[in-house]
Symmetry: C2
Subunit: 394 residues, 2 copies
């Protein structure tokens, strides 16, 4: 087992009605909180959630201002707007009401307020953030895992560049997770989140060389759980327990637990998707589903035993005669899961049927940082590999 | 899934050589630390670990005093000694170098310094601790899980009463875990720790009524991991990876993860053992192994389906014709695991072959708090049940 650090200070408050505790929880963190309530497209207004949260803050005597308008693949311009608002209003605490996009936007605003200079520097890997305003969340989407992770992904409109930064100081102080709040999501968003959750685990799992025990057991159990309950939600979207299982799996998938002690990870699917999200604004999980099967078949020969273990432990496939045959059958099975939950498994199905060779070249050029980096732990992929994968995934 | 809270702020620094980071980690927590280095029987001196830690503190310019002498089933008198020393020396940080006993003693000292009045009040359930000195640990035994848990168990010599208290404020700021440090343990202590780890998971698992997914998957995977690697260590005590798997499982077993969303827990085995530990000073895990099979057979009829799930998922036993038959075969299999790792499965094997009926009555009287409480989630056990179990376990 490789040396590792594990740090998850976020207090999770999970279950029905927990959003009403938000005022009390903020007071436990800071007595003189002046809060930015940050949210997305307005669905939290329509459902009445924002009103309930504001009431909880009012009841606790907490001052706050609101800022909505965060979109999927959250934008740098909104981050700048939030930073300015926070400085003007003397904000010292950010409450993200929404999913990963809103939390990521909140973290970016938190960096921008707590550090000098242009916040994009952190996402452009020019500087490392030293501090962040305290962040907390009322989570409404099970997907990104940002509620317990140290990461934030922002898209800069100029050039449509999507980049992530990770720092412990941005980890949420608390995360309120009521699975009922995810029930108003469109089915497509629910499925997209489920793929993201599976991928956060798979990308830590598949880069591993040697057999692990506890981390493998947790990862395999987590993926089985998400697949089982995702299929339940296709037929019964209001199933509370299935929503709860997936919501909690989403946090555990990306809080570091599934990476403890692993030798290497492989974030190639995420990185390939980031360029799709940046340029075409696709739903993140759907983008992952459209890329992963092609990526997996492209790299499987570099570690067939590991893919075969996935096939065995998650799908019960171990009778195909060789590691490679089992591995390929496991990839087919995962692809079928995506189909079963109505996710795209090609770029055409993702809605990019007219993707040109020039656009693919641009995606790969960006993803390779102008041919200055390779990506992936199973197999290192350069720009030519990226072009191959995007092309095969079409 | 039942509502739950999950809070594990302890920063884990896991792997070879990590104990040398202790000075740096304390400085990250507090710039003007004045540290009590608390330890046990002197084995940390013999192995040179204490010297390495003191060097790390010296190198970081950190002031400290040392206090050894913590014994298994840590004593209240040592806690009082530590509180007095801390007050005299102006200690503001406690570093526990050892296993659960040393960490628990440190937490108790931390309560005693940070709160007015007699610290035993908290263990006697008369008051709730409001604060605790910051605690951290360099862990040398994989067992109690105290390095990430909120609990502390102390034995009061007057009447030999062993009691636990739980509070978030006592959770370790960081836990340094180098599996190599556990290699100097006697085999009996290694096995005893493994039983404790299994029990921390089982006692959360077996009280559950309905089938869970993610928490069950994690619990079952954790128990499989400990059993597999415990058997490896019987033959190969210096196997680093096996030690690492068990050490990390020990923390995950008791940091709350295996209890997330469960309907009810069952701590009866721990409570029955606490009285044995208090009166006869037996090794904690060995005491659990000596009690659990009898307890399990005594309560299995209250929830055979749950025990059958354990039999199936951990031992692959599902062919006995009924839930009850599978359940009983699963209990037999767990008992055999204890035997395989040279643990006692009766009180006689534990070394209490001359246990009298009067002593059993005293154990049950204490365990039932003078017949004012029942224990257990699978089946509520009163004093008469406790007498039955202790007697059958003889």
């Amino acid at each position: 087992m490789k040396n590792f650090e594990y740090y998850t200070p976020t207090k999770v408050v999970f279950g029905k009605g927990t959003e009403n505790e938000v005022g009390k929880l903020i007071l436990q963190e800071t007595k003189d909180a002046c809060v930015l309530v940050h949210y997305g497209s307005g669905s939290v207004k329509r459902t009445g959630l924002l009103d309930r949260i504001c009431k909880s803050l009012d009841d606790a005597g907490i001052k706050y201002v609101t800022l909505g308008g965060v979109v999927p693949n959250p934008r740098l311009s909104k981050v700048y707007e939030g930073i300015e608002l926070c400085k003007k209003e003397g904000i010292n605490f950010i409450l993200a009401v929404g999913g990963g996009s809103v939390i990521d936007s909140s973290k970016a605003i938190g960096y921008g307020v707590a550090n000098e200079g242009d916040v994009w520097d952190f996402y452009d890997y020019k500087r490392v953030p030293e501090a962040c305003l305290p962040i907390a969340t009322v989570l409404t989407i099970a997907a990104a895992g940002s509620e317990m992770s140290d990461s934030s992904v922002i898209t800069k409109e100029e050039g449509w560049i999507k980049r992530g930064v990770s720092a412990d100081c941005s980890r949420c102080r608390f995360a309120i997770m009521n699975p009922e709040l995810t029930m108003t999501l469109p089915d497509y968003q629910t499925s997209s989140g489920e793929v993201d959750i599976i991928m956060h685990t798979l990308e830590r799992y598949l880069g591993q060389g040697k057999n692990m025990n506890i981390t493998d057991e947790i990862s395999e159990g987590l993926i089985r759980t998400v697949i089982k309950n995702a299929k339940i939600l296709v037929k019964d979207p209001s199933n509370y327990d299935a929503r709860a299982e997936i919501m909690w799996a989403g946090s555990l998938s990306h809080n570091g637990l599934t990476g403890c002690g692993v030798e290497s990870m492989d974030w190639a699917s995420h990185q390939l998707e980031h360029e799709l999200g940046g340029m075409f604004d696709v739903a993140h999980g759907a983008g992952l589903a459209a890329v992963w099967p092609t990526w997996a078949r492209y790299v499987v020969d570099a570690n067939p035993a590991r893919f075969a273990q996935l096939a065995d432990k998650v799908f019960g496939i171990s009778d195909k005669g060789s590691d490679m045959a089992n591995a390929l059958a496991g990839i087919d099975a995962m692809e079928q899961v995506f189909r079963d939950i109505n996710m795209p498994v090609t770029l055409t199905e993702l809605g990019l049927k007219d993707l040109t060779d020039e656009q693919i070249d641009e995606l790969a050029e960006k993803c390779s940082f102008g041919q200055t980096r390779t990506i992936g732990g199973v197999k290192a992929l350069n720009k030519a590999d990226m072009i191959n994968i995007y092309t095969k995934a079409r």
